[in-house]
Amino acid sequence: MSNYWPWWAGAIGLALVTINYTLTTDRSLGVSAAWDRVLHWRSERQLERIDAQFTDDRALVEAFAAATAEQFATSPLAGATRGDTPTSSQEVGPHAGDETAPVAPLRPAPLVTQAALLLSIFVGGWVAAVTAGRFQLRFDMGDGFREIVTANPNTMISLLFAGGVLVGFGTRLAGGCSSGHGLSGCGRLRPVSILATAVFFGTAVLVSFLLWKVI
């Protein structure tokens, strides 16, 4: 049980992950946001499509402006343009975006990458458990949970589910979790993140004392 990393190794590890992610992607690491976006993939896909449409439209307008300028500058024959413009406008629309879409600097990370983040956490956790010799398929949550919370499997399942609902609801309402608010947000000294971290940690301390001492 005591083959966990010393605190300083954990601190360096967590810091490296957060800093590396922020510097390479120019975005903040947030696991609950990733969950949220993957769960609502339908609406997120739609947003991404609308976003692409916008860049398409912008490209279309620019293409028209360029074509108009070209026409007026080079060929004074108005008859030729009147015949060409409608068909070309329909062709330009879908294609222009792919080539000329400018990358907006602060768009949220693409949906696929967020799903990849969650899957990679699983793989990373699995590698860690196996290499440390901790991996063991089991139908309980360990001795700690049994002693501190409950030994009854049905109560355990209900509590895990209820706790999970609170975590899911709470992180989205607060706008972040221990990685988004705790690491990225506090690292950037955002007041909202420091407040959220203090409150969720303080509440967890209170509830843990209740579980441990009272019940």
Binding site: W7, W8, A9, G10, A11, G13, A15, T18, N20, T24, R27, S28, G30, V31, S32, W35, L106, P110, T113, A116, S120, F122, G125, W126, A128, A129, R134, Q136, G142, L159, G163, G164, V165, L166, V167, G168, F169, G170, T171, R172, A174, G175, C177, S179, L183, G185, C186, G187, R188, R190, L195, A196, T197, F201, G202, A204, S208, F209, L211, W212
Partner: protein, 138 residues
Amino acid sequence: MRTRGGVLVANIIAGLALGYTVANIGYGDYAELNRMFTFQDLRMLLAFAGAVVIIVMVFAVLRVRRAPGRIHAGVIPGAVLFGTGWAISGGCPAIPIVQVASGYLPALVTIAGVIVGMWLCHWANARYFHLDRGSCGL
């Protein structure tokens, strides 16, 4: 590294490293987590606080841009709910993934709960709260 492929690679690296680190610190271990929250063992708390200190210093040196963050009405109630859920189930959104990966199968139930909770939050926000959280920009 701001292209789609670059962001994908960065997310995979971050996920692998985060899962590996979180599992090796022991956040997936309910007994360890409870010892942290009741201050019986400061190891995991120091790991988290130490990480924040390092990040603050590195970001200050590199002058990383401060993302805007507004304190809206959902922050405190949300954090209270999250703290309660974390203490009971032992899971923040990343931890149950690591727990399942370590063989704790009941953590699948925690994940199901997280999913339901997030859906509920979306639904309740659209219907009752109408908070402009702007949270996905985190």
